[in-house]
């Protein structure tokens, strides 16, 4: 992580930043150096710690360790307003401006030019026009914000942040909802901001955009800095490797596939317009199919389509040769499908219910409310899974939200295992959980496969996928681009499939 390239001192230097949450280390001794007049990409898969790092910089979170130096002076932002005053402005994916106010009012909110106790509206509009012209925008600042597209609003937000802060501009996925031309417009603005000598932090999942606009990158993985690099010296493949893989020495392990079971689930041309290109997939009993791909490549979408979270608008699913219709998760559960979702907090746990109730929830939902599972049986099921999966808790009565991430994930696994599923879909089963639980979940996956269950596991952890998958399907831009079997399954091959522009 030596840098001899830029002679300037960093405008913002974060050193040894650590942040702990119960049960996880979100940031571990992270360093970030932002030079004036450069665009610095912050890269990493979801859960790598990008958001947490940004929140520590902007004062939304208090860092647990480390120093933050701005122009060599240590700073302690306690709120986003505070960090703005110190010179750090942030623009988020969802524009956080006020849609019911005019462009000029948004630009100057809180520091409007005044005359005799009243807002000097004409002067404000003139100044707004001048400011926006500096960004190449010729629009009427007296119009309400909503009169303009998201891209223009994005630029207005940037203008506001730059005018107010003026040293560091953080762009958190600003291009996520923009089309190609709009992205170019935004890039022009970013170049102007850069030319003014600001340090720009650019966060995105689109690698093409990273290479198009950024000078340098810091790559995070599991809360640690993997490396800082000059992008001019890197290829996309190098960056993907840094983001996903630690040791890429192909770990050829004796694959104990066992006898291939009967085909359990056949998916034929299943797809939904605007969400996922049609795909086909067969999964046999006693088989783990891995789903690989970068964020936004369609891993979660695939899982959601199969489970009926989003009803597909074409294609068919057959179970043991019989066509079945899955219009919602209830249908899927009735056919003994199970899905452990990616976002535990939003889609998984029912936070205020006890761990016991959370474990029993899916089974009880399938039985219907008329047939409650007897208290003793509930107790037995909950206890047996707590023991089998080694869920650490003080009491089965405690609300599940108080458990650590890893234990929540195990409780969710228990919820689905209690329904005795034939087909288990796991979406990022090991994200954001501690190392111990991580290893246990991987062991569990292998065990379930050996017991004859069919599993579909989406993960961004390549070594993990390589370790337990009998087949790996690689996704890119919401399409299946490659299927790897047997000895082909290596982290290297997966990365090649992800990063190659065109796959034959």
């Amino acid at each position: 992580m030596t840098d001899t390239h830029t002679p300037d001192a960093p405008v913002l230097h974060a050193r040894g930043i650590s942040k702990f949450f119960p049960g996880t280390i979100a940031l571990d001794d992270v360093e970030l150096r932002l030079m004036p007049g450069e665009v610095h990409a912050l890269l990493g898969e979801n859960g790598a710690g990008k958001s947490t790092l940004i929140k520590c910089l902007t004062g939304a979170y208090r860092r647990d360790a480390g120093t933050l130096l701005m122009d060599g002076q240590e700073i302690h932002p306690v709120s986003t307003a505070d960090s703005q005053r110190l010179g750090i402005g942030t623009v988020y994916q969802e524009v956080n401006l006020l849609p019911n106010l005019t462009v000029a009012e948004n630009l100057f909110l809180g520091r409007q030019p005044m005359r005799g106790g009243f807002i000097a509206r004409r002067r404000m509009n003139e100044e707004a026009r001048a400011v926006l012209a500096g960004y190449g925008l010729r629009i009427d600042p007296a119009e309400p914000l909503t009169a303009y597209s998201v891209a223009i609003q994005q630029v207005i937000a940037i203008a506001r942040a730059v005018e107010m802060s003026g040293k560091v501009l953080i762009l958190d996925e600003p291009t996520a909802s923009l089309d190609h031309d709009e992205v170019q417009l935004l890039f022009d603005v970013i170049r102007q901001v850069k030319a003014r000598g600001l340090a720009v932090v650019f966060i995105t999942h689109f690698l093409d955009q990273v290479f198009a606009i950024s000078d340098r990158a810091t790559v995070l993985r599991n809360g640690r800095v993997v490396g800082e690099c000059l992008l001019a010296e890197m290829t996309q493949r190098d960056v993907v490797t840094m983001m996903l893989g630690r040791q890429l020495e192909a770990r050829t392990k004796a694959r104990d596939v066992g006898p291939a079971g009967k085909t359990l689930v056949e998916i034929d041309d299943l797809g939904k317009r605007g969400m996922m290109a049609p795909f086909s997939l067969n999964i046999r009993e006693g088989e783990v199919v891995g789903l690989a791909g970068l964020l936004g490549s369609g891993r979660t979408e695939t899982a959601n389509l199969i489970f009926g979270v989003e009803p597909a608008d074409q294609g068919r699913i057959a179970l043991r040769g019989q066509d079945i219709s899955i219009k919602n998760p209830r249908d899927a559960v009735a056919h003994r499908f199970a899905l452990c979702p990616e976002d535990r907090k939003i889609d998984g746990i029912v936070g205020d219910l006890s761990v016991r109730d959370n474990i029993i929830l899916a089974l009880q939902a399938r039985q219907g409310w008329m047939r409650p599972i007897p208290r003793a049986k509930v107790e037995e099921i909950a206890r047996s899974y707590v023991r089998a999966l080694d869920i650490r808790l003080a009491s089965l009565d405690m609300p599940i939200r108080l458990l650590s991430g890893g234990n929540q994930q195990k409780a969710l696994l228990a919820r689905w295992l209690a329904t005795n599923p034939a087909f288990l879909i796991l979406d990022e089963p090991t994200r954001g959980i501690d190392v111990g639980a991580h290893a246990e979940i991987i062991t569990l996956i292998e065990q379930l496969r050996a017991d004859g269950m069919a599993l579909l596991v989406a993960s961004s952890e390549l070594e993990e996928l390589v370790a337990y998958s009998t087949r790996v399907v690689v996704l890119r831009d919401r399409q299946q681009v490659r299927e790897l079997t047997g000895d082909q399954i290596t982290p290297d091959n997966i990365i090649n499939a992800i990063a190659t522009e065109e796959v034959a």
């Binding site: 998760p329 205020d352 409310w369 009565d397």
Partner: protein
């Protein structure tokens, strides 16, 4: 934290203790202003006494808060119950005025209330309109509908069967008391002896997770609004029977707010989730006891609403999380450190994303 000791289920008693304490204080206030408060006479085959009055007069709000508790547990709210009371009263009155029996009238009123609940449920569960807006529709329109049924006048009746529901007694106990006790017990029994209670709580806490776990949230949502409508219908019939007439303009006026208040005093979160019908019922009794204090104290009636507001404010302040934290800290000889609010963080994360 590593041991797997499995503690006892938090008992019902512990859950309703704060409400019982407040109720005791409210009753003590009654005694303070009116020493004979607890005296109960048995005259002409009926129990008389101020305590009986509290139980009897509290019946409409008690009935409403049974349904309201379930609705609020799903993170919803039902503003229409007052208006539904008026509709149900009007329907019952017009049926007996047309010469039918009280049984038919009761069934017709329940059907009307059920229909209203169904309407609310469909707006909320199928059209996904926010509950406060969805039920506001019927809150406003309901009184109009009731007026259409009574043709704009106060519809009086003298059917003894119907009047019995509001003003009669069974074995000396006023019928409304028996009705709300029975319905409260029935609904509590059904939601706790089946899985209904847990599923309703799950929806209220995290509907998305619940749906993904295979819960039919749509049907359950419709059901809770249906129950709320039925409860309101019963309350409406009792109120109409009590005054032997259906007053479309005033029957159940503002009672939706009392019902919501009863649920809140009962310690149920307006954000949905864990609920206790028993605690809500005690909440309804607390409100009625407060009404009784004001009445018995002999203060000029102008003071009534202000004093009630002050007492309620006091109750809510005592129950506020802030004060709860102070109490928690005062007796913080306990071993467990406060968990580092992991629950509040993710919400921030979501909004920033």
């Amino acid at each position: 934290m590593t041991s797997q000791t499995i503690g006892p289920r938090p008992s019902v008693m512990r859950r309703i203790l704060p409400q019982l304490v407040i109720l005791a204080v409210a009753l003590a206030l009654n005694v303070a202003v009116f020493p004979e408060f607890f005296e109960i006479d048995f005259r002409n085959g009926r129990l008389f006494g101020n305590l009986i009055d509290v139980l009897n007069r509290g019946a409409p709000v008690a009935l409403l808060c049974i349904g309201m508790t379930l609705v609020i547990a799903t993170k919803g709210i039902d503003l229409s119950v007052g208006a539904v009371m008026a509709i149900a009263g009007a329907v019952a009155a017009s049926v007996v005025v047309d010469g039918h029996g009280w049984g038919t009238a009761l069934l017709a009123a329940l059907a009307a209330g059920g229909l209203c609940g169904l309407w609310n449920g469909l707006l909320v569960a199928v059209l996904r309109i926010q509950p406060i807006v969805a039920t506001l529709v019927l809150m406003v329109a309901g009184r109009g509908i009731a007026q259409l049924v009574t043709e704009g006048k106060i519809l009086t009746f003298d059917n003894p069967g119907l009047i019995h529901l509001g003003a009669g007694t069974v074995a000396g106990v006023p019928t409304p008391i028996l009705i709300w006790l029975a319905l409260g017990a029935l609904v509590t029994f059904v939601v706790r002896k089946t899985a209904l209670g847990m599923l309703i709580e799950a929806i209220g806490i995290n509907e998305r997770s619940s749906r993904l776990a295979g819960i039919n949230s749509r049907v359950l949502l419709v059901c809770v609004y249906l129950v709320s409508g039925l409860c309101a219908a019963l309350a409406g019939v009792i109120v109409a029977a009590d005054i032997k007439g259906a007053d479309a303009n005033n029957a159940g006026l503002w009672l939706e707010l009392d019902a919501i208040l009863a649920v809140v005093i009962g310690g149920n979160s307006l954000l949905g989730g864990r609920f206790s019908i028993i605690a809500s019922l005690i909440g309804a009794l607390i409100i009625q006891s407060v009404n009784s204090v004001i009445l018995l104290s002999g203060l000029p009636p102008e003071f009534n609403l202000v004093i009630k507001a002050l007492l309620i404010l006091g109750i809510l302040v005592i129950q506020s999380p802030r004060i709860g934290n102070y109490i928690y800290l005062l007796k913080a000889s306990g071993p467990q450190p406060e968990p580092d609010a992991p629950a509040s963080r993710p919400t921030k994360e979501e909004t920033a994303r």
